[in-house]
């Protein structure tokens, strides 16, 4: 057991080779960006200061990593122990999501070497200030949380200390994302008159928070289905079903709140204006809310296939929502005087490269640390066999 634990493996496969290739091309583009600037590597311009990298690397990255804090809340704070088997993998994916976000941000900002300025020069009136502090602190907390797992294998002397502070890390590690998930929506609160009324609302912060929470289980369903092909670890169906039930209830609340908010604001009619933005809005709400709600309440989520379909729809819905807030919903305003923006191929490749890097790290960690297997210590064994409770 001792020797097996210390062995390091990384199996090279064609898919991993492809990931590596994309990651290397992305790194080359990043080098060009550092030397020649953002103008040479993106289609961003004075009318469109934010585009694909902000929406994909940051907003979508943070939202899709929402499964980490969600599962930490459900398992460690609310002690729904039935979900414990997926806790570690969900929180690892979340950590890697934030690694993408932080790397993406460093590439995206103009003066990356000044990244620490908000730590010393406090622009505390800015919503972005809160986002910055929470994301950086939370990433640090997640690294420490992962160290608790890593020290089962390496630097084992520190394991006791990390284990002892885990409760504190967990509580802070749920508080911070609650704040910054909502604040990412808050960023666009100040875009009154610029962001399309289909998306602009004083409720943007709760909408962003709720959608990051409900997309967490959807991501976990997809992740575990994908990683099962690699790790041969199949998550029991009741675990996923229970998770999706939580997600679906949150989705129903989100959907009703969204429609209600538009009704109160008198903007619901705009959804049927037939414009590009309104059609994207209908697609977002239809595919991302209505279809998965019908799937769940129609009973299709009893089977693994239905769960995966639910996951795909909800993830697609949240991805569309973030793209729509950053790009579609701002389009009419930013283009009104002849501005235009469509991401360049380099923007796509860099983002794809970041995802590939995260996937490679995930695979390495899953193969070398105890993430998806049964917990190593004897005392956990009984918990694994414990009764499954969801409500």
């Amino acid at each position: 057991m001792e020797t097996a634990r210390r062995r390091w493996t990384f199996k090279m496969t064609p898919v991993r080779g492809l990931f590596l290739l994309i990651a290397l091309i992305a790194l080359a583009i990043v080098l060009v960006r550092l030397v020649l600037g953002l103008g040479a590597t993106t289609n961003l311009n004075d009318q469109w200061p934010w585009g694909f990298w902000i929406s994909f690397d940051v907003l979508i990255g943070v939202a899709l990593a929402g499964g980490g804090y969600g599962i930490a809340l459900i398992v460690y704070v609310l002690r729904r122990d039935g979900f414990y088997p997926i806790a570690r993998s969900a929180m690892l994916t979340s950590l890697l999501g934030y690694v993408i976000v932080v790397l993406g941000l460093l590439i995206e900002v103009g003066q990356w070497f000044n990244f620490y300025q908000p730590f010393i020069s406090w622009g505390h009136h800015s919503v972005l200030f809160e986002v910055f502090w929470c994301i950086s602190m939370y990433t640090l907390i997640q690294v420490l949380e992962f160290c608790e797992i890593a020290t089962e294998k390496i630097f084992r002397g520190a394991h006791g200390l990390l284990k002892a502070i885990m409760p504190v890390l967990l509580v802070i590690g749920i508080t911070l994302p609650t704040l910054h998930q909502s604040s990412l929506g808050g960023l666009y609160y100040e875009m009154i008159g610029k962001l399309d009324a289909l998306w602009w609302s004083p409720l943007l912060p709760p909408f962003f928070l709720l959608s990051s929470f409900l997309v967490g289980p959807a991501m976990i369903v997809l992740e575990t289905a994908l990683s099962a092909r690699v790790t041969k670890h199949v998550v029991p169906l009741p675990v996923l079903r229970g998770l999706v039930r939580i997600s679906a209830v949150a989705l129903l609340i989100y959907f009703i709140a969204k429609i209600g908010d538009l009704l109160v604001a008198g903007e619901l009619g705009g959804a049927f204006a037939g414009t590009f933005a309104s059609n994207m809005f209908l697609l977002e709400l239809g595919l991302g809310c209505l279809v998965p709600l019908l799937l769940f309440f129609g009973g299709a989520c009893a089977k693994r296939g239905g769960l995966i379909l639910y996951g795909i729809c909800v993830v697609a819905g949240v991805v569309m929502n973030r793209f729509n807030v950053v790009m579609t919903g701002m389009g009419e305003y930013l283009n009104r005087a002849g501005g235009q923006y469509f991401p360049s191929w380099t923007e796509f490749v860099v983002s794809a490269g970041l995802v590939c890097i995260a996937c490679l790290i995930y695979l390495f960690i899953v193969e070398n640390f105890n993430i998806v297997g049964e917990p190593g210590h004897g005392e956990e064994q009984s918990r694994q066999e414990g009764k499954f409770v969801t409500d």
Partner: protein
Amino acid sequence: MTNELTAGKAFGALVDIPRCIGCESCSVACKLYNGLDWEEERKRLTAADRAAEPNKGLWPEDWTSIAQYNPEKDGVRTIRFVKSQCFHCDEPACASACFSKAFQKLPQGPVIYDQSLCVGCRYCMLACPFDIIKYEWDKAIPACRKCQMCAPRVAEGEAPACVAVCPTGALFFGEKEEVLAEAKKRIAAGDYIDHIYGEQEAGGTGWLYISDIPFAEMRFRTDVTTRSLPSYTESYMGATPLVGIGWAAVLAGLYVYNNKGKDHLD
């Protein structure tokens, strides 16, 4: 930048559109005072060309510009020149959006930018209600660029370079109340629309405009909120620490309660 002359005073400026003849002395003075480059590809642009640009002729090296519009007045096609520069809002959205205090509103009126504090996130550009801030996309180490209202001059109570050279009185500089009074006086005495652009827009701006042609016909943003933009997020940010601490306390309580008598999970 404090000075006995200007202590406690806030300055602003008035742009009187019908009085402008489009000589562009202001643009030249701005270039000279601020040491801005004359870029080859922009040299031959006319005021009419600039009116057709998405940015109305504002670029990283062009902090003020003159754009020419040809609106109809009393059934006759006419010519109006409109100066663009930072409005120097009373409560600037850029400064409230900046998470590292790279933008600040000086007590004397100018909203200035400090590149050494800037991370380059460009949230200021999105937040600006007038889309004034430009970015150096082609530089490895880029800065945000916009009119600084010649802050060192204003600190001495002197007019910004552009106002100082205006030969027609289209530009007027003074304390904020003086400028507002002058605008009202000119509207009362002459052929103007009864609207001081900037008096209410974005919660009030340091630079005000008066015109005889509807502002919407000269690409002014007429749908801009009259509430100050920072006020949208102030209460939100003010509540955040309390919400955070309260939520953490609830979580800690739940953690202790739900883990009572159970083994801690790994």
